[in-house]
């Protein structure tokens, strides 16, 4: 099946966006580093279910999400902690804490599995948001493919930022040499998912189509392939971030 042909879209969709969405959907269906293809597609499905989950809606209104008990609306295929993590990332991300992530790790949702889960959730959510923004139907989720997770973990990691280990700014070497020019600038948001390097690569590819490539981020004027200049982009980005209460 050809995903994301956007044939029914009332607006022409740039080909690089179409290709980036297709490319991620192919990887979504395959085993990743810590989850099988079936589990990755289940994570994607839960990222959609979270938006209509009654428990998520009620918990978001609670003063603390950590004293509020209940059951998510979900379709299974994942451990309870993973379902809760997916729903929380989509609907209540500002209240995620280091201790909650560590508690999940103690109960079996490892930091590595959590980071891959974050990567899948945010990629699917972003692709879905693109469709929703343009009034298009959401794409069908791909059929999972068989295979086992690689369980790959980078050799060089640091605990100097955030809640999870990351490849350090000077650690883009060996298998991670493609992540960024070693010795170059690696902002924290670029490092954030590097405990699972493929999650960062997915991030980079989608960002390159929907926003800007790493190279173009240094161009504060505008890109010839875009119809909006950098100020216009940053106004949209800033307003979206403000509503989401994003400090970063």
């Amino acid at each position: 099946m050809a995903y994301f042909d956007y044939a029914d879209a009332p607006f022409p969709i740039r080909n690089d966006i179409r290709e980036a969405h297709r490319s991620f959907w192919q990887r979504l269906a395959r085993a990743g580093s810590w989850w099988t293809g079936a589990q990755r597609v289940a994570i994607a499905r839960e990222s959609r279910n979270a938006l209509t989950c009654d428990f998520c809606a009620r918990r978001k209104e609670a003063l603390s999400p950590y004293v509020f008990s209940g059951t998510h609306t979900h379709e299974g295929g994942l451990p309870d902690a993973a379902i809760d993590a997916v729903h929380r990332i989509v609907t209540d991300q500002t209240r995620i804490t280091a201790s909650w992530i560590a508690g999940n790790a103690a109960e079996g949702l490892s930091l590595e599995a959590y980071v891959e889960l974050v990567g899948v959730v945010v990629a699917v959510f972003s692709i879905d948001e693109f469709s929703r923004a343009l009034g298009l139907a959401l794409e069908l989720l791909p059929e999972p493919q068989s295979g086992e997770p690689s369980r790959y973990r980078p050799a060089v990691l640091a605990d100097d930022i955030g809640y999870v280990p990351t490849v350090p700014a000077n650690g883009a070497v060996g298998n991670e040499a493609d992540l960024w020019p070693n010795g170059g600038r690696a902002p924290n948001v670029v490092r954030a998912l590097t405990l699972v390097p493929q999650a960062m690569r997915d991030w980079r590819e989608l960002a390159g189509a929907q926003y800007l490539s790493f190279a173009d981020m240094a161009n504060f004027v505008g890109h010839p392939d875009r119809s909006i200049n950098r100020m216009q982009m940053e106004l949209v980005a800033g307003r979206v971030s403000a509503i989401n209460q994003c400090f970063y």
């Binding site: 216009q232 940053e234 979206v240 989401n244």
Partner: protein, 120 residues
């Protein structure tokens, strides 16, 4: 990034557009008000508001602008969740530009500020 872009291009802008001021968004930025409203509607997840904002942007700026803006908004719906889900701090808390922008927009009120100690 908006302020850096404005400085780079020598454009006078008003950062209050980030906080939802339509007149501020329009200052120095083509289709600024419509773009701001479109991004706002996507993030607020209100279907009627989104439909109205989409139509307004399309009618004023055309389909290419609409699609490119949808891509940017979708990208940042993701970015905020990466930042909050991994607890990353702001990269450089010492720059005067960053401090000024955070103060102008009142960003210290956001929960994610806890991940960046000593931002003042």
């Amino acid at each position: 990034m908006l302020r850096v872009s404005a400085q780079t291009t020598g454009t006078e802008i008003d950062l209050t557009g980030i906080n939802g001021d339509a007149d501020g968004a329009a200052r120095g930025i083509p289709f600024g008000s419509e773009l701001m409203r479109f991004g706002e509607a996507i993030a607020l997840r209100e279907p009627a508001r989104l439909a109205n904002a989409r139509t307004a942007l399309f009618e004023q700026a055309g389909s290419r602008v609409l699609v490119d803006a949808a891509g940017v908004a979708a990208n940042f719906q993701r970015m905020v969740r990466i930042a909050d889900s991994t607890g990353i701090p702001v990269d450089d808390t010492t720059s005067a530009l960053g401090r000024d922008v955070r103060a102008t927009l009142g960003l210290e009120r956001f929960p994610g500020a806890r991940n960046t100690p000593a931002t003042g």
